[in-house]
């Protein structure tokens, strides 16, 4: 019986393709695994491998044919002992996804049946040759590849995707030897265990939805621009150490306070905003609202997202005050017990990812604010000192994201210059 070669489905949604090229001609011997043709879709050109063996008896769809429906017979293989005479009475069978009354000859140019059920490739009667099967779970996919029971067993045990094993048995059956051979190859160590479910679904909670809405709106409506500056925080680091060493300790040796670099950054930002109040403002259509109070929103990471509790009038608070307030706000944030007035409002935001080693990043402005300072990690760098010698300093990169409607480049630069002055001269934070 001549074996029909069908137009393969190269993806589950492919309905038709172009037969770009035949790599075998009528009369050629074909063995399982030989590339016999190239098929083009609008996505890619793929090779068609033969599944059966035989002699290519007749090519029914010529090179260059376009819009050949999936499952249409494109060629016929003669088995051992058959010859051209067998083909005399041969009539190609209907593609399996045809409507009942359709004439086969019209199929070449016609689009396949629109019903989604009919567009599914490979129903029972005539299977389209699978080319690159969608990889799903190892065992469920392995059950659709022809393989001997023991070959499947060994493949399942070793997490091998049988579709990637060449089958040398009859009709392309994967045998034990094929699997053992696959296992013995060096790159078979990179075995992939794919999880059947593509993804787990994590429902969006309130915070997630709010972050999504606000930040999408921010990016879509605010004309962002970004300024970066390196700060020499060698002195800051020293000062911080001094401050923390001076902390009185209780009976169990616990210090009364522990000031972080971020606490000092908050103070420096507050002082800089006093100097450059234009950065502490909001856009409205009629006017820019310049805030009279320096209220700084500080980004805190929590379980399901992030929130920005506010340190109000930060310019008037001491570093210690800021530090203890930040601690309590952060704790409340993580417990989900922040009161609305503790996180709604603020004129300027700070986001610090230095503790994660992030060197530099650009944050997204939180409307209705007009700027946000992104603080990176401090790292040791070698620079050329004034006397021409090399010295090692601690450098921290800060990046200011600005709403250009309110903060121009010069204003943003001035703010950063001011911030740099305060942060590089920690004594000024005492004022």
């Amino acid at each position: 019986m001549p074996i029909e070669i069908l137009m393969p489905a190269l993806s589950p949604t492919m309905k038709e393709g172009n037969l770009a090229k035949w790599l075998k001609k009528e009369g050629d011997e074909v063995t399982a695994g030989d590339v016999i043709a190239e098929i083009e879709t609008d996505k890619a050109t793929m090779e068609v491998e033969a599944v059966d063996e035989g002699k290519l008896g007749k090519i029914l769809v010529t090179e260059g044919s376009k819009n050949v429906p999936v499952n249409q017979v494109i060629a016929v293989l003669l088995e051992d002992g058959e010859d051209a005479k067998t083909l005399k009475d041969y009539k190609p069978s209907e593609p399996a996804n045809d409507d009942a009354g359709k004439d086969k000859k019209e199929d070449k140019a016609a689009t396949p049946a629109p019903a989604p059920a009919a567009a599914q490739p490979a129903p029972a009667k005539a299977l389209a040759q699978p080319i690159v099967p969608v990889v799903n779970s190892v065992t469920s996919q392995n059950s659709s590849v022809t393989a001997s029971p023991v070959a499947k067993k060994i493949a399942d045990q070793n997490g091998i995707n049988l579709a990637s094993v060449k089958g040398t048995g009859p009709k392309g059956r994967v045998t034990k030897e094929d699997v053992m051979h696959f296992l013995s190859q060096p790159n078979s160590g990179s075995v992939v265990n794919r999880v059947a479910d593509e993804a787990i679904s994590i429902p969006n909670n309130n915070i997630r939805q709010v972050i999504a809405e606000r930040l999408v709106a921010s990016k879509q409506t605010i004309p962002h621009f970004y300024l970066s500056l390196d700060c020499n925080i060698s002195d800051l680091v020293k000062s911080r150490a001094q401050i923390n060493d001076a902390a009185p300790k209780d009976e169990s040796g616990r210090p009364a306070y522990k000031v972080s670099v971020n606490d000092l950054v908050i103070k420096a930002v507050a002082l800089a905003l006093k100097k450059v109040p234009a950065a502490n403002a909001s856009w409205t259509d009629e006017a820019v609202l310049q805030y009279n109070n320096v209220d700084i929103s500080v980004a805190v990471a929590i379980d399901d997202g992030l929130i920005t509790p506010i340190v109000r009038n930060a310019d008037q608070k001491s570093v210690l005050n800021i530090s203890s307030e930040m601690k309590s706000l952060a704790t409340k944030a993580r417990q989900g017990t922040l009161a609305p007035e503790e996180f709604q409002g603020g004129g300027f935001s700070i986001s610090n990812l230095g503790m994660y080693g992030i060197k530099q990043f650009n944050a997204i402005v939180n409307p209705p604010q007009s700027a946000i300072l992104a603080v990176g990690a401090g790292e040791k760098k070698v620079v050329v000192a004034d006397n021409g010698e090399f010295k090692a300093i601690d450098v921290m990169t800060v990046s200011l994201s600005c709403d250009h409607r309110v903060v121009d480049g010069a204003v943003g630069a001035q703010f950063l210059q001011s911030f740099k002055y305060y942060i590089e001269n920690p004594a000024t934070l005492l004022l």
Partner: protein, 327 residues
């Protein structure tokens, strides 16, 4: 070890049991005066007398029924059929009188009878005299069915058959009556009904066979070994009960099964074994289990056709190569 023919081994088995137990007697056509149609009972009349070695008219139904009744009454008959083809005349007594009695009497009536004789093809004896009955009798619960090959197994298992309290079908082969084998007397007591043996150890394919097919299987294994296929040959020895353990363990080792029998393949011994392989060793199979059997036709009379109708050594080799995926 001394060499002995299968014929002599069978005779010795009967003689030894008849000496041990005076209830054991032999009955059949030509068993006494003629010394046995195939000379299996040579000398038994002289040793045991006409009461213990009984000639009968040509009436299998008659003497089988008579013997079955005597077994129920306490004797231990050995019924010789000139071939098992003629036993079809007596099959009602074999099945309904002997096989089912223990069950139907609630265990009260036993039938310790042995039906023995040549089974299967001989040499140009025609279709009516060449059938293999292994499958027919193995089908029936209540019977033990034994089909040994070499002399030691024939002697050991005939003795065990005579000692067995159950009705036993003991299938011999006319052609192998004249074969000589080493007689391993020491192992006789250890050979049991229901236990197969590994006639040739191997690793690539399991070939099961019984009776004269064991010879074919061993010859095929020899040829296959030169092609790099290391076949394990199992001599089934007993057909009912089949030694499933030995067969399955072998398949688990080799991943492949070829069954060989001279009888017809349809509903044959091979069909049963292949089915068991699928049920109990499915995940160990690397290829379909294959049956090699006689062709599905009454056996031809012409010598060349008879040869073609029976499984040859090459038939076994071809099947083994197929399941090994080798040309």
């Amino acid at each position: 070890m001394a060499e002995i023919t299968v014929r002599e081994a069978l005779r010795d088995a009967m003689a030894e049991e008849m000496r041990k137990d005076e209830n054991v007697y032999l009955i059949g056509e030509e068993v006494a005066e003629y010394q046995g149609a195939y000379k299996v009972s040579q000398g038994l009349l002289d040793e045991f007398g006409a009461r213990r070695v009984v000639d009968t008219p040509i009436t299998e139904h008659g003497f089988a029924g008579l013997a079955a009744g005597s077994a129920m009454a306490g004797l231990k008959p050995i019924v010789e059929f000139m071939t098992f083809n003629f036993a079809m005349q007596a099959i009602d007594h074999i099945i309904n009188s002997a096989a089912k009695t223990h069950y139907m009497s609630g265990g009260q009536v036993k039938c310790p009878i042995v039906f023995r004789g040549p089974n299967g093809a001989a040499a140009r004896v025609g279709a009516q005299h060449s059938q293999c009955y292994g499958a027919w009798y193995s089908h029936v619960p209540g019977l033990e069915v034994i089909a040994p090959y070499d002399a030691t197994d024939c002697k050991a298992l005939l003795k065990k058959a005579i000692q067995s309290p159950n009705p036993v079908i003991f299938l011999e082969n006319e052609i192998t009556y004249g074969y000589s084998f080493d007689l391993d007397d020491a192992s006789i007591d250890d050979i049991e009904i229901g236990k197969a043996k590994i006639a040739r150890k191997g690793s690539d394919v399991t070939i099961t066979a019984f009776s004269i097919a064991v010879e074919r299987a061993l010859q095929a294994a020899e040829i296959l070994s030169k092609e790099g296929i290391n076949a394990e040959v199992i001599d089934l020895r007993t057909l009912r009960p089949l030694d499933t353990n030995t067969i399955i363990n072998s398949i688990k080792k080799t991943n492949r099964l070829v069954t060989v029998e001279e009888g017809w393949g349809v509903c044959g011994i091979g069909a049963e074994i292949c089915s068991l392989a699928c049920e109990q060793a499915f995940d160990y199979l690397d290829a379909e289990p294959k049956r090699v059997s006689g062709k599905d036709t009454p056996l031809p009379y012409a010598a060349n056709l008879e040869k073609l109708a029976l499984p040859s050594v090459e038939d076994v080799c071809i099947a083994a190569r197929e399941v090994c995926y080798k040309k």
